[in-house]
Structures are given as C-alpha cells and as structure tokens.
Symmetry: C2
Subunit: 430 residues, 2 copies
C-alpha cells in the first residue's frame, strides 16, 4: 500500500517490516463487500445461526453473577475452568491433554504468532502445504522465515514429498523449524488427510526431529461421520495443536488455544504475557458460560448442516455451470473448495472483471509465497445463502467463459496484468 | 522458571526467547493472592465500581440489535465507530486526531508489542525512565532491544539526562529507536510530568529525530483539576500515543489503542493482522455501546473519587507508620506510590518476610533492567478498600522495622538473598 503522504520514519523501521506486505487485492475487497456482490471470498462463519436471545441471556447471567471477574485482568495462560472445558471440545477429535498444557489466545492466529515467535529465527525454514493458509504465511514472513511449499495430493500433504523437502533444505545448510499443516478440511484446498496419511506425516516429522504444528479450526465441522482424529491424538511431545472457537461458536470473541508440550507451553505463556498481558476474561468467560449452560454440540450440528447445504449448492452449481477444463476439490467439511482454471487463465488477472460482474473470490496466488497459484482460486461457501452461492457461481462461470474467449483470441491471459504472487493476510481472508 | 520435565525442544527455540524470562517472584504472588494477604502489589482496577446491571443491559441490547456484527470478524484496524468515539475520550487530554490515525488493540500492551515489532531490530536502543513499567521492559527485551534507563526527578523524566543519554549511546555507535515515557501518574513512580517538562522532553526527542512513545493508561485518573494534556497534543508526527480502556472502563475487555503518524499506523495495522487478524468485535462493540449510551464521564469521576480516597489512606498511614528514613512519592492520580527504603534494606530480600506477615508489594528491581531498585518498592492502592490499605501499611511498617533490626545487627540485608534484578511482566503487575 503506497501513501501519498511522506513518512518521516521511513528509515527507522525494523528489518522484519520487509516481510509485512499489504495485500494488493485489499482495495478490491472493499468493493467486493458491497451487498450486490456475491462474495465467495471471505471465510466469515455464519454467526447469524446463533440464537442471539440465548447469547444475550448467557452474557447477562455472567455479568450479574461474575462480572467482577469477567471484567478484570486474568491469567496470561487463560482461565483455568475454560481450559478444562477445552478438553471436552478436543475430546471430539480424540485429543487428550492436561489443562496445564493449554494456553488460551486471542484467536488461534495469535497462537500461530506466538509459536513462530518462540521457535523461529530469521532464515529458519517452515514447511507448509502448497497451497497454505494466507494468515499463517503472513506470520511466517513477518518473522522472516524461509517458507517452503510441499505438494499435496488427494489425501493432503504428501509425506514422500515432505521427506524430500526436508532432505533438500537441510542439504542447503538450512534449519527446518516446523512443519505447518491443516489436516482437516484444509484452507484453502478443501482436502482432508486420511488417518493413514496423518500417521505417515507424523512419522516423517518425528524421524527428522521436526516440530509439527497442527492447525485445526475446522475439525468439528465435518459433514459426515465422526470428526477426524487430530494428529495430536497420536503424539504429545512432537505436535503443537491449535484450536479455535471462531468457527464453532463465534469469531468475534477472538478465542483460540494451543496445546503444547510442557516446556514449549511455558515459553508460549511468557511470549503471550509480553504480547497482550492476558487474553480477555470477558470473551473467555462468555465462552465458558456458554459451554457450561448451552447445548454446544447441538449448535455445532446446526453449523454442520448449514455448511453442508451450502457446500452442496456450490458443488452442484459448479458441476452444472463451469466450462470444461475447470476442476475443483470436493470438501467433506469446513468452508472452502479449491478451483483450478482451464489452461491459460489467470485468476488474479481475472478478479477485477469478476468483481465488475458482481462476484468475488480469492486468487490462488495469496496462498503461496512463491508466485504459484495463478491458475487457482479459493471459493468459500460458508457465508452466503445457497441461492446466492448458485447466483455467484453462475456469474463466475460467465466470467470464465469470457476469459476463455479472450484466451482463444490472444493465446493466454496470464501476465496481461501485473501479478507478483505476494499477498498478506486480511481478516476477510480468514 | 525451571522445569523438572526434560524439554525435547530445548535446542530449537529462537534467539529472542533469551529475552523472555519468568518472574522469580511469580511463585510468591501465587501466595500473595490468598485473601488473608493485603496485596499492595497488583495493578488491578476496582471494576466492582461498575454497575453490573447496567453492563448486562448494555451487552444484551448490543447482542439483540447487532449480535451478528459483534460476534463476527472485524477490521484489523478496529471498529470505525469506536475509533470516532476514542477521539472524544482523547479530547480529555487535548489530543486531536483523525479516526484513521487510530488502531485498536488487544489492550495497550499489544500496542506496545506492535510498535516495538515495527521499529526495533535486535540491539536497537530504547530509552526508558528509571524506573519504568515492567510490561514495557518485557516487550523491549522480548525484541532483544538494548534498554537504557534515564533518571527521573520530581517532575518526571529529566530532559538534560535524556539528551546526555542519547549522546552517550550514539557515541557508542548504537541506534536509539524510541524514547518510552509515561507522563501522567507514572507506573511505578507515581510522578507526573509538568506541562513545561513535557515540552522539554518533546524538544529533546524532536531535535534528536527520535520517536517518542507516550503511554497514557492513567491520564484520565487524576485527583485534582483537569487531566494533564498529553505530549501528543503538542506534536503529531513525532509521537505515538497509547491509550487504554483498562483503567477507565474495564481491563477484562482488553481494549486499548495507538494513535500514530500515518505511515506508522499503516505498518501497525499490517503487524496487528499478522498477530491476531483483528481485535475482538465483541469487546469493541461492548465499549462502543457503553460509551454511546452510558454517562462514561461520570463513571470516570467515580473511579477518580474511589482511587483518591485510597491514595489518601495510603499516604496517611505511610506518614503515620513508616520508620524514619523511608520516603515515598505522593501521586496526584493513577494507582501507585514509589517507596524508597531506609539505607541498607533490600525490598526483594524482604518480600518473603512481608508475605509471611500477610502483606505484598512489588520489589523495585522489576522496574529496572540493570539490577537497580533494590531499595525501592511499588505500592498500589487501586484495589484494596481503604481500611485494608491501612492494615497493609501497618504490617509493612512492622516488617521494615524488623529488617532494620536485622540490618542494625548484621550491617545490611542487601545480598543476604539472591537477587539479580531481572523480572518479567506478569498480569498481576500490570
């Protein structure tokens, strides 16, 4: 983002600010948030599905009964009773832990920041999926990490490619600090690792002595059967597990957590105290009161059904309307499908035309640090109603048809517009 | 903090974790939080003074009317309407700004973290008062800054000493990135800069081309006359101003803010998005609703009167009970008085004895990075009722008398117990 005003401090910034870049597409998203645009871009949960009268009563009761605690500073590690309740939530993905292993954070984004802060020196390598969560890439870049993508297949992160990447990076004399993975209902790829795959990935990490950072905001939002067992359920010392209430209760509360091996957890608490003193008691106790007094498993079922219906609307209309040569993943949960465009099309170059046709998505380049993703886009089905999703896909299909016409005339649209593959996270990409 | 369990990741941590240290006195504070102990240690605001029924109604109304916004992700910079309301709050300390100059943070601690993240490379110098806020020292150390203390006098940070420190540090070939100051009702010193002094400090910073970081959590909590005008009211480009609702409304909401020059503010927003995506809409809109519908200036008056009564209780009983040779500052607002013990006494060595006599304070060493502060302690009067404060001072006076007896026998108590001057922030020291 350039400024027309002169910045008198331009020569004073820390080295690390070079890794903090504004998204080129941010301005476009301001346009995309207009009500006439069907946004398949944002990752906003549909919190309207919460019963607001119930929420109001829950919070009223909290403030009348424990207001002096809810409105006071709390522990840097997080409320101890909430940490016990988090154990119940994680039991759904087969994680067992002790409340003392948990640190509550201002959203799991903050847990990502703290883990990176505690482990990564500038130049340390973090291995991530190709593609990977834009907000995690932003954190790794902000700490001047060297981010290396590892290919995925239909079962997620490929363990053979992972082992090869570790060997290659180490042969270059670099230190691999972490493997970052989203095993369930991947953002943005919409892929879920099989249980066999999880064990294979863990085995590679363990045998290389590399920490596995498991990010699991969507784990409880599967559309069929039991939630997948987390990798953390297989191993305690080698995995940091990140969880969040943003998608299962409400994102505006900003409450997530990390489960970490004992020594790591101690460091994370020190880092958290430095970063924010303590997470909000108000948000934490709101969630705690909600979990203690409301049928939260039923609420998660409501969310599952809502998102399944929207996933179905997306997949059906993609099937019906997308031009030949377009492919997409079929998510079994979560918020996202990952689309690959026909040969010769560029998702980022196409975005302004899409927005002018009143549909928005996130171009694939945002999910890579290396300029890949030009042929991809992330479609979110979490927020718009099913009928709006169908309308959005209809508009998008028309835009792609139009681009195909241009490509047929000029050979390709790639490179017709500037596009350097660097994006930074923005809340609407969460 | 040492762990009995072996940490398999002990060789993997980032260099910066060396700057993250657990407080040696943390264990003692666990004891000190027992109800029979009079704690003059913590900086917890007395949020019980809020009308909890009013708070419950305010939040109910918010959730029923705007629940879908309050519980959703928001902007990384913070809610735009709250940012406008913050202008009204800052008008009390004569700061004028544009809402776009403001970034809302998870408590002003997070603003401290972000400013340091954006400006400081390892080894950069930050000049701070002697003593300074323990949570700020923790942040500067976590970013591997070289913290240099500058003496205060009765009017606060000494501008001549400041200019000398800048010259000395620069002569050593080091880069001074910031001057960190708490001009009003200083934590822990209980001193307030005169308006003349503020202009002098600003002039030194400007002529050296060094950024001034003005931390003002207590500015509205003065006990007589108008709130002091902030340094930021004198200059826009050279000052970052940090404000907070933690002491004027409630700390458990974790809402603070920074006002920064335009180019800096852009960088802070990018850093904030990487750190937490966005501040909590739930907390922000709670405050916004409160400011819009409740007489918040009256609430601040209530807090002022409450804290003045407690300050009076503290100063009166110190006057009445403290042994000769003990001195203390007389705060005109805020939460703290800074005590200097008689020659030969060590506040940290004395703390276990004080806690065993059921009174707690924060030893002065926590507010220095260089081992100074052995003869000092911070006394907080914000949380206990006046009668408890008097009882606490009575116990403390007896402990000091006892230490004086030991010192008379053995010469001094300094060094009788290990004490290396390194403390890290903990929420109860806020």
């Amino acid at each position: 983002m350039s400024s027309s005003r002169l910045d008198p401090w331009v020569d004073s910034y820390a080295q690390r600010t070079n890794g903090m870049q504004a998204s080129e597409i941010r301005a476009l998203f301001a346009v995309a948030s207009r009500p006439e645009v069907v946004s398949l871009a944002g990752g906003m949960p549909f919190v309207q599905a919460l019963d607001m009268e119930m929420m109001a009563e829950t919070v009223s009761k909290l403030l009348l009964e424990r207001g002096a605690v809810a409105l006071q500073y709390g522990s840097g590690q997080g409320d101890v009773f909430l940490r016990e309740q988090i154990l119940d939530v994680m039991a759904e993905v087969k994680v067992t832990a002790h409340p003392d292993d948990i640190i509550v954070t201002t959203g799991s984004q903050m847990a990502l920041d703290l883990v990176t802060r505690v482990f990564c020196n500038p130049g340390d390598v973090v291995l991530v999926e190709a593609p990977s969560y834009v907000g995690a890439l932003g954190v790794f870049r902000a700490y001047e990490c060297d981010v290396v993508h590892v290919p995925m297949d239909d079962e997620g992160l490929n363990p053979i490619a992972l082992a090869e990447a570790i060997a290659r990076v180490r042969a270059e004399g670099k230190t691999v600090k972490m493997i970052y993975t989203i095993p369930s209902f991947h953002n943005p790829a919409g892929i879920t690792q099989s249980q066999v795959r999880r064990a294979e990935i863990l085995a590679v990490a363990k045998s290389a002595g590399i920490l596995l950072l498991e990010d699991d905001p969507y784990g409880l939002l599967g559309f069929e059967g039991e939630p997948p067992a987390a990798i953390r359920s297989l191993d305690e010392e080698g995995v940091i597990y990140l969880g969040s209430f943003s998608k299962t209760i409400a994102s505006g509360l900003r409450v997530g957590w990390a489960v970490a091996p004992h020594g790591v957890r101690e460091k994370l608490v020190l880092a958290a105290e430095s970063a924010v003193l303590c997470p909000s008691n108000y948000s934490q106790l709101t969630i705690s009161q909600y979990l203690a007094t409301q049928p939260w498993r039923e609420q998660i079922k409501t969310y599952q059904e809502l998102y399944r219906e929207r996933r179905d609307a997306l997949l059906e209309s993609l099937e019906l309307l997308m031009p030949a040569g377009t492919t997409w993943t079929k998510p079994a949960g979560g918020f996202y499908s990952w689309v690959t465009l026909p040969e010769g099309l560029d998702s980022k170059a196409m975005l302004p035309r899409a927005v002018s046709q009143l549909v928005a998505y996130v171009p694939g380049t945002g999910f890579y640090v290396n300029g890949d993703g030009h042929h991809n886009m992330r479609l979110s089905y979490c927020y718009p109603e099913p009928e709006r999703i169908r309308e959005g896909v209809r508009r998008l299909a028309a835009v792609i048809e139009g681009e195909l016409g241009i490509a047929a005339t000029f050979g390709t649209t790639v490179g017709l517009r500037k596009s350097d593959g660097h994006e930074s996270p923005a809340p609407n990409l969460a």
